[in-house]
Subunit: 246 residues, 4 copies
Amino acid sequence: MIHVTVWNEFRHEKSSAKVAAIYPNGMHETIAAFLRAQPDIEARTATLDEPEHGLTQEVLDGTDVLIWWGHMAHGEVSDEIVERVYNRVMQGMGLVVLHSGHASKIFRKLMGTNTHKLRWREDGEMARLWVMDLAHPIAQGLEDHFDLPIEETYGEHFDIPKPDDLVFVSWVPGGEVFRSGCCWHRGLGRVFYFQPGHETCPSYHDKNVQLVITNAVRWAFRPRPIYQYVTDHTTALKDISLGKGE
Amino acid sequence: MIHVTVWNEFRHEKSSAKVAAIYPNGMHETIAAFLRAQPDIEARTATLDEPEHGLTQEVLDGTDVLIWWGHMAHGEVSDEIVERVYNRVMQGMGLVVLHSGHASKIFRKLMGTNTHKLRWREDGEMARLWVMDLAHPIAQGLEDHFDLPIEETYGEHFDIPKPDDLVFVSWVPGGEVFRSGCCWHRGLGRVFYFQPGHETCPSYHDKNVQLVITNAVRWAFRPRPIYQYVTDHTTALKDISLGKGE
Amino acid sequence: MIHVTVWNEFRHEKSSAKVAAIYPNGMHETIAAFLRAQPDIEARTATLDEPEHGLTQEVLDGTDVLIWWGHMAHGEVSDEIVERVYNRVMQGMGLVVLHSGHASKIFRKLMGTNTHKLRWREDGEMARLWVMDLAHPIAQGLEDHFDLPIEETYGEHFDIPKPDDLVFVSWVPGGEVFRSGCCWHRGLGRVFYFQPGHETCPSYHDKNVQLVITNAVRWAFRPRPIYQYVTDHTTALKDISLGKGE
Amino acid sequence: MIHVTVWNEFRHEKSSAKVAAIYPNGMHETIAAFLRAQPDIEARTATLDEPEHGLTQEVLDGTDVLIWWGHMAHGEVSDEIVERVYNRVMQGMGLVVLHSGHASKIFRKLMGTNTHKLRWREDGEMARLWVMDLAHPIAQGLEDHFDLPIEETYGEHFDIPKPDDLVFVSWVPGGEVFRSGCCWHRGLGRVFYFQPGHETCPSYHDKNVQLVITNAVRWAFRPRPIYQYVTDHTTALKDISLGKGE
């Protein structure tokens, strides 16, 4: 069983009727709902305005994969909680960063670049996501591309480190491309960034988007126990018989 | 269920009493046996001297992951069968190449370099395999390194393309290192090379080696159906509404 | 001084008035001409219909970087010459493969996949090339994208191995994206694939295309001598003092 | 001309007679000296105890490649200067991090992992550095390996992101391996980590180490001007003629 926590800033849904109409209980509940339909996934939720943003040490210790959506309130996420999430990724927790989460403190810290930098515009364009790596587990079950009828437009250059795996590149009518699905290993954990999910677009109701996020959860999941490497100063390895094996 | 075919040249075991003592039924049967102990794996075997080397189109069509061990008779593998295996990898079959399979026709064809080139010597040394990528599925369940009491020594420079994932680097007492566990995607398939398994060494009886190969089978496996991309000339994509989504 | 040989199939220019109007002396001469304008580059040319396709062992031995354009006559390139080029790449010669050279024998052999497979159409569209890796030497001097007013459309999925470096991704109005600039190391040599250059389009007269190819030549170039690794069987490294250094 | 600044903590040399005997004017002067012997490199130095650690905005603005050696006083480097260096890397300055600089604030920030974590011991062992990527510019002029008679031992697991290029892996008699030469792009800059250089070892007097650092400076160098990508919110690209090019 994979224990997922879906974290959402949960502000747009409370302040915008348009967003609330698409995600009446918040994006986190929409995402948690389709994950719960999977026999191997348990999903709970957490939001910014809960105590400790809903991410107590106990919650994180019980989380195999954390999904992160934030946008207008990145600055309100406490540095202490960011450090806590970071430490869990180092220990092997998976992290799936969605859409405007590219500018979150945790993603920036994990990437080491100015990941908030990219082109963007909100023109109600369609987006077409092309699979770059047809052999990748996150693309399993997809065809070579799929379309979203409306999304916010993100465009290169996106200031990320070279992805360990580049799964999707998006095309939009207006002339941009975007590396919209990217994987990295960080410490003992696995990180996936996925672009769709502007709050005014119904992308998390889309079957292909749901498949990608579900695949990403399974890709990011690590069965426990996870080996924890020796920290800092370590003892010498003096136990080698340097002679021949026979 | 993952359908594995373990292919073995199966010559050393018939000509050398030393090898036969370690692998009485051939290396392929030892490998197939530990795979069969897994609830999600079915394993059959095939060998060089069977008709079509045991790799008929029907066998390959029913194979999710092919394991390959060859050494003294690479030249006897027919080009037609190599092409058949190659085509199946392109279609999504996994391939796990073991030890001296680095010089096999199929591995050289998939890599595009002179993969037979490496340093080697047979001095009965131990080998220590270090995990480079602790977050990789093939390293799941291992500590940060494990030792084999005796193996053939392979050393750099190993003429391979940059691995998509570098899982293991080996250390040996005599002064070499070796990229002993490497992953690549090729076409729709996944390829893993793993160094241990000289015919006079009992490495396929080793618990850690067995865990690595079992992990590699699961990593290389793709559930069917697998999307088959459009070949050669394709029709234009004329169905895009270039206007706004709203 | 970098010694470049520009190889061209040189058939379209002789059979099509439209192509000849764009490249009166052949694409190879256009490419060689802008390279010759650089103080550190010497360029000669070679074509399919010359003896040994103009690629004698002597010519290749004196070539630091080979540029390859082919399209309608890939099958006429002799396997012997392909092997000769391959061996020189393994020894450290750079190779820049242009446009429809993606389906050439040499590129397929070096990549290990069905690189002739991609989407394509000839609709006279513009192409926009986005720089994915702004820190890459091949992108030096470019802005974050540049446009070609007309090119043949290539689209994903392009059946290549994961590029070591992904320098460009193209956008076209009709809905495709394409990994249009990709780097790989193969053996001791460096390989760059660059998409622009359909025979009916004036792309090799474009300043940005010329800059990319010039940058690619410098990137692919290796000063001599180049270390040649020990082949096949090697002697053991017995000269290690395993004691302490002090 | 490449403008290099060699930054050194410069504490060990002042407090240890042993270190001072090896590097009478500090490691930075030894490094700067061999760089100055190159016709295309100008080198100055900066140290921790200078005002602003010698890294004023003016100095950094005039630096193409910064070399960083630190060890006992990482915590004394001010966060403001770290941010200044970070911003220059984002803008295209190269950074070469040496030895115990793996635990520096700037390297940790750029990597996004706990790069201070690795195995280590100070046993006066030799180290053998194997070239993993013989086609890499940083390995130009080397054979496939070289030895250092005495170095501090660093061992895996080293908690770094997957290197964009893995140039060296070290072997030591005691049983460890280590990714001792690694490249990454970060923003518009290039970063190289190189392991040798413990303060009590004369590694910066070694010809091969000097060649590697010199090669790394040239690899990390970017001629100016360097394109600076559009930050944050950008205007839409409305200038595309979506019709046919003809």
